[in-house]
């Protein structure tokens, strides 16, 4: 999860989507391409091993029903065109190779002309643009699935296959009268900081089950900023989170701090 976010050198924002079913693999792949075209940024498609090997019914719509977002192409003549000039949203218009624009693309620090320019001012402007084009649109990019959050005392934050395990646990808890809500991260990056902050003000605790020893739990804890307790339910994998029920509803009462304790080792 962290490699998707911080995989390259330099400072930038990235988009990462986490499907939890074969249907979502189909739907979110289209979404991934659309985000990528719209924001001119790679989109990470984060299938975990279980989702990657799942077999379920998938409904594939007719091609004409699928929304395709084309990237912005310039309408300007070549002598007026600056490849990295933007109208404020941070996403420049692209020119077609072969149309006589003679534009240049480089990974070196570049200005609006696209050619290397190594001044600190250019670097600052470039990095801020690469970040802001995503952060300014974060509300639209950050796809979430929410359930029973209005009265929730405990919010289960999950993503990928773990969200389907959590779903059942939340239903069982609700049946027992426990006020548990669901927040599923369909978009993991940019991280939904704003939503976690809002929920932290109204809930007692976040519980973050993960199929690893605790990665996104750190983000939740950071965004909650002490306003609500955060508990990780780490699990190294190889089986379903079997003792998730104990962890979810006993752990907050026991006031454990979040930490790397494998779910398998807890009492059942």
């Amino acid at each position: 999860m962290m490699q998707a976010r911080w995989g390259s050198h330099g400072d930038y924002e990235i988009i990462a989507l986490c499907p939890n079913s074969p249907q979502e693999c189909f739907d979110l792949t289209i979404q991934a391409f659309n985000f990528s075209e719209e924001f001119r940024v790679p989109v990470m498609f984060m299938m975990d091993e279980v989702v990657g090997h799942m077999t379920e019914k998938v409904i594939i719509p007719a091609a004409e029903q699928i929304e395709v977002v084309p990237r912005k192409h310039t309408q300007k003549p070549s002598h007026e065109y600056l490849p990295y000039e933007t109208n404020g949203d941070g996403v420049p218009e692209i020119a077609h190779a072969g149309d006589g624009y003679n534009f240049h693309v480089t990974g070196l620090t570049h200005d609006e002309h696209g050619y290397p320019n190594m001044t600190p001012q250019t670097q600052d402007k470039l990095v801020r643009r690469l970040q802001s084009k995503i952060t300014n649109a974060a509300d639209r990019i950050t796809l979430l699935e929410e359930e029973s959050l209005d009265d929730a005392e405990v919010v289960v934050v999950s993503y990928g296959i773990t969200s389907r395990v959590a779903q059942r646990a939340i239903e069982l808890a609700r049946q027992q009268g426990l006020r548990v809500g669901k927040l599923r991260l369909i978009t993991c990056w940019p991280f939904p900081e704003k939503r976690i902050r809002e929920l932290a003000a109204s809930t007692k605790a976040f519980v973050v089950p993960e199929l690893n020893l605790g990665q996104m739990v750190r983000e939740v804890e950071r965004a909650a900023a002490g306003k609500a307790k955060t508990y990780g339910v780490p699990h190294a994998g190889g089986s379903v989170h079997r003792s998730i029920r104990w962890n979810l509803f006993c752990a907050p009462i026991a006031c454990r701090t979040s930490g790397a304790r494998d779910a398998e080792s807890e009492p059942r």
Binding site: A95, H96, A97, G98, D99, G100, Y101, N102, F103, H104, V105, T106, G107, L108, Y115, P116
Partner: protein, 167 residues
């Protein structure tokens, strides 16, 4: 023309030859896309008045493959160095030769990683002393024309910047 290459280096000579060849061929310059990777030769893309792409290390050929597939009318030229094309991008090189999707790959082979400080490359001759082989390179070198020919390239040629035809 001011440039970053060292005095005596042959890269500028190859760029000169390439530019003259373009003019002589009377090819529509708008149809040419030049793609380079990273390294000394990787900087060629920044010196030409063409659609030019200075891509990530070793990935010039995959980028060029995408360009060519998206617009088969483009004359796509990959212009990069031996380290970029045959080491980090070595797999892309042989598969591009195998696929034959009409890319032109110009590899400037200076037998070493030059811009990073003279480290041994897959093309460095045996026993050569470099910054990473102080007792001499202990591995045999790639013979790039033979490599790409064996992989299926339809046209392979090699020449030296030491002897160019003058106009």
């Amino acid at each position: 023309m001011p440039h970053i290459w060292c005095p005596g280096c042959g890269i500028g000579t190859t760029v000169n030859c390439f530019a003259r060849a373009l003019i002589e061929s009377k090819i529509d310059l708008r149809s040419i896309a030049l793609v380079s990777g990273i390294g000394c030769t990787g900087r060629v893309a920044g010196y030409v008045k063409l659609d030019s792409f200075h891509t990530t290390h070793g990935r010039a050929i995959p980028f060029a493959t995408g360009l060519k597939l998206a617009n088969p009318k483009l004359n796509v030229v990959v212009y990069s160095g031996d380290g970029d094309l045959s080491a980090i991008g070595g797999n892309h090189l042989i598969h591009a030769a195998r696929r034959n999707i009409d890319l032109k790959v110009i590899c400037v082979n200076n037998l070493i990683y030059a811009t990073t400080g003279g480290q041994t490359a897959p093309t460095t001759p045996g026993h050569a002393i470099t910054s990473t082989s102080p007792y001499g390179t202990c591995e045999p070198a790639f013979n790039l024309p033979h490599l790409v020919e064996a992989a299926g390239a339809v046209y392979v040629a090699r020449w030296t910047t030491f002897r160019i035809q003058l106009y």
